[in-house]
Symmetry: C2
């Protein structure tokens, strides 16, 4: 087994990708964050629509979302669990997003994140991502933005 | 390349698993549906909490949820996209859940589904699943249960 297909090595590479992606998000750096995605990546995000398709759409979304925060975004990635196999991998984590929005609202929520990777030309890229909170089944249909891990 | 690692063959097996899982859900058959999960499967579901861990928890959740529907559950799995590699695979789809609840409420919603598989003893099992709707960013925090694909 060579370093190029050692599962421990591949898991370490995925974890480094997630760390780098999170740092780009904290820094609100659109170019650095979109570099992590495959051109045809499909993302289920916190906001509608159901799906966001293609890196051009993701770039537009990040470019619109980042300026809604005052200063850097607080972003913590916790309990990362990675599964790799050949050129496919998936990871899950619980992520905290917090900080001050430009309208002075203090935001602080925990979300579930699933990130699915494909190895393209030797580099792990995000092919599919799913980020969400559940919602309360008490008839209110309120998003559960107050849960903690 | 043998049938056991032909990506097209593995994709067909995953699609058959998804079809079988969906049929078990329509039939409200707890034993058949939990047979699709790995023992340590971790699921992000529509309802809180953030995560549901282990097939015992999933069994309890299905056993409690199925009787809240009058008759079979309407369940449609659309636009399935499968990526396989070795002993790891992931799939996404847009799923419609509809029918009559026991309190006579007519339910009908579309959700995003991500299902991540591991091959265990030659059989594909769900290791991780993430099902959600987004929520509206208009300050209402309402779950977007009215979106259509």
């Amino acid at each position: 087994m060579t370093a190029s297909n050692d599962p421990r090595h591949e898991e370490a590479r995925i974890r480094a990708q997630i760390d780098s992606w999170a740092a780009a998000l904290r820094d609100k750096d659109v170019d650095r964050i979109v570099a992590h995605y495959a051109p045809d990546a499909v993302v289920a995000d916190l906001a509608p629509p159901l799906w966001n398709t293609g890196v051009g759409t993701l770039r537009k979304n990040f470019a619109e979302w980042f300026p809604t925060w005052r200063g850097p975004i607080g972003f913590e990635v916790r309990d990362v669990h990675v599964t790799t196999g050949g050129d496919v991998a998936f990871a899950r984590s619980t992520n905290r997003i917090h900080g001050t929005k430009t309208d002075e609202v203090q935001a602080d929520l925990w979300v579930r994140a699933t990130v699915c990777f494909r190895k393209l030309d030797g580099a792990w890229k995000v092919a599919h991502e799913h980020v969400s909170v559940p919602f309360y089944m008490d008839g209110s249909f309120r998003a559960a933005v107050d849960l903690k891990p």
